[in-house]
């Protein structure tokens, strides 16, 4: 360690100190980003690794000779087994898209009605929604299961869709955003004689686009990644969605799967949520700005 020359002025020393703390900060952030990104890179690489690289010693993180063979194997050769992998993709897509659509419509309608029409009891309902934000869905899983099985929906798409339409989180996001809607616009339409639902659908919904797009993103992510519901509600192999199917494919919990097809399946299970988020990023940020809770 060198001792600093004494002629240095106070100002320069402070600047030096700031610089060192800045470098430390950059190192910390870089380390954090390596931690978050490395497994993702690893995941992408393994999906494109040929067999020869998957089983190589020493193990490789980066792929040298990328190939699409894993995807070809996954989507074609598995069709000879009982359930083709494309069926799981379809199940996941169908369940997710229907859930997202219904959640957008139901939650936006509710939030709009609460904010812009303020019926008696709206304040109480909002208090309950806020309270519901603070416990996890696991608390209500048993009664939900009893309802779903009581209505005879076990092993159906509806079992995966209906319980996750009206979530407190989604409602809350749109409700906060709804407060920004100008009343004058709605009133103008009302004077023109437009019906209430028409006003909501043609005037409010386009203005609430950021809010419900954000809701759509979160609803997509949670529905697509949901492994708990299919585990509980689905019995037949052909009704499974991707997360559950992937686990079965990988050989069950705790088993290290080293096959190329599992790598490809992991990629196909992970990529959609990231793509959806990346496409909608701007709108998500617009909406989240209003997401604070004032207590």
């Amino acid at each position: 360690m060198f001792r600093k020359p004494k002629i240095q002025t106070q100002g320069v020393r402070i600047r030096k100190k700031v610089k060192i703390s800045k470098i430390l900060l950059y190192i910390l952030v870089a380390a954090l980003l390596v931690f978050t990104v490395l497994p993702m890179i690893c995941m992408v690489c393994r999906a494109f690794m040929p067999m020869t690289e998957l089983f190589i010693y020493p193990p490789r993180i980066f792929v040298r000779h990328p190939t699409l063979q894993n995807f070809v194997d996954l989507l074609s050769s598995l069709s000879s087994s009982t359930v083709p992998f494309t069926r799981y993709i379809f199940n996941s897509l169908w369940v997710t898209i229907v859930t997202v659509f219904l959640s957008v419509v139901v939650c936006s309608m509710g939030a709009y009605g609460m904010v812009k029409h303020k019926p008696v009891g709206a304040a109480t309902i909002f208090t309950i929604v806020i309270a519901a934000l603070s416990f996890s869905g696991h608390v209500t899983k048993i009664p939900n299961y009893m309802i779903v099985s009581g209505v005879g929906l076990i092993d159906s798409y509806a079992a995966l869709i209906v319980p996750s339409i009206a979530t407190a989180y989604n409602f809350f996001l749109v409700k906060q955003f709804c407060e920004q809607l100008p009343d004058s616009l709605l009133e103008a339409a009302r004077i023109d004689g437009a019906k209430e639902f028409r006003i909501f659908w043609t005037i409010a919904m386009p203005l609430l686009k950021s809010a419900w797009s954000t809701l759509a993103v979160f609803s997509f992510v949670s529905s697509w990644n949901d492994s708990f519901s299919p585990l509980v509600y689905i019995q037949t192999d052909s009704m499974k969605t991707l997360p559950l199917a992937l686990q079965t494919m990988a050989g069950g919990a705790g088993v290290v799967a080293r096959s190329g097809t599992v790598g490809a399946a992991t990629f196909l299970t992970t990529a959609p949520t990231i793509i959806v988020y990346t496409v909608m990023k701007g709108r998500v940020m617009d909406t989240m700005a209003y997401s604070g809770i004032k207590s």
Binding site: L32, P58, V106, M109, V129, S136, P243, G254, V284
Partner: protein, 316 residues
């Protein structure tokens, strides 16, 4: 309430028309709002609100999906808290997870959001790099984590540690009960680090730059002072929302734990409250007992969230 809140442009519709009964007026004023809220309320009550009370009621019975439930008082809770050793392990594990993942994730989310908000370029890419793990499925990514933590020499971590010379023989990360908990903490931390991130990022970008300018005039010298005197107090609503989300998610660790360590895990070393709940509810169908577990989870998350609401109370 109705007359006050729909004031202004709508006031003509709200006033009592001549010859109109009070009841009819009440209906006319509220029907549109209720109409819009109806689909949401039906589903929300059926799958969220009523289930909480049903679970509460079931937790004092011995319901098992087949026989008619009998009222058993607090027996389930007594068994759960005093005699179920596995549950005690599950609570300990869950608390270890939550106490590490929760605060660490919360602080890192905020730190990262703050860092990004100070960056001039590359915000989108940085945000995506940090947030991407939160978008992934726990069961899907556990496939990759199992390769990283594989117990033989070909596991990435074992290979690295052997190469560096820290260990000479590969460690069975996901089989050895002493390592399972730390491994799952790392994976869960990876997955849930972004829980409050977007909320914080949006909140930070929303703060009026003029306030920082005013702060500078008032003698705030460095970014750290700026953070404590201006940014944090203004962000209370976002900090609250983020903290509630963090509490709920960090106490619900389950799918990563079972996907990595198997179910049941060796010596119950990755057993969590939700895993215990799942075990009793959906493999043994002892719904009464499982409901008591659910109520325990409910009480903890709800209680902690209430505390957060006190801490981040915004002065109005």
């Amino acid at each position: 309430m109705s007359s006050k809140t729909t004031a202004g442009a709508q006031s003509s519709a709200v006033m009592l028309k001549p010859g109109e009964s009070k009841l009819h007026h009440f209906w006319r004023v509220n029907k549109t709002g209720w109409g819009f809220l109806l689909p949401f309320m039906v589903l929300f009550l059926t799958f969220t609100v009523i289930p909480v009370f049903v679970a509460m009621a079931l937790s004092v019975t011995d319901y098992n999906m087949i026989q008619v439930p009998n009222f058993t008082g607090l027996t389930n809770y007594r068994l759960l808290l005093l005699e179920d050793d596995v549950f005690i392990i599950a609570v300990q594990n869950t608390l270890v997870f939550a106490c590490i993942i929760g605060p660490a994730g919360y602080i890192m989310s905020f730190g990262m959001a703050w860092f990004i908000s100070l960056c001039k370029r590359g915000r989108g890419a940085l945000a995506l790099a940090f947030y991407a793990p939160s978008l992934t499925s726990g069961t899907a990514m556990s496939v990759i984590w199992l390769v990283i933590f594989a117990g033989d020499r070909t596991g990435y971590l074992n290979h690295l540690l052997i190469k560096v010379g820290l260990i000479s023989d590969p460690i069975l990360w996901t089989k050895d009960a002493t390592y399972i908990l730390p491994v799952i903490v790392i994976i869960s931390a990876w997955m849930s680090m972004g829980t409050g991130f977007l909320v914080f990022l949006a909140g930070l970008s929303n703060i009026d730059p003029e306030l920082y300018e005013a702060g500078r005039v008032d003698g705030i010298k460095n970014p750290l002072q700026q953070l404590f005197y201006i940014t944090l107090p203004l962000m209370k609503p976002q900090l609250l929302f983020g903290s509630i989300n963090t509490i709920v998610s960090s106490l619900a660790v389950f799918d990563v734990a079972t996907a990595v360590a198997g179910f049941p895990s060796p010596n119950y070393s990755a057993h969590t409250i939700v895993a215990h709940l799942y075990d009793y509810a959906f493999t043994r169908f002892q719904m009464g007992y499982a409901s008591a577990i659910a109520m325990f989870l409910f009480a903890i998350t709800f209680g902690l969230s209430r505390i957060c609401m006190r801490v981040f109370r915004s002065e109005t």
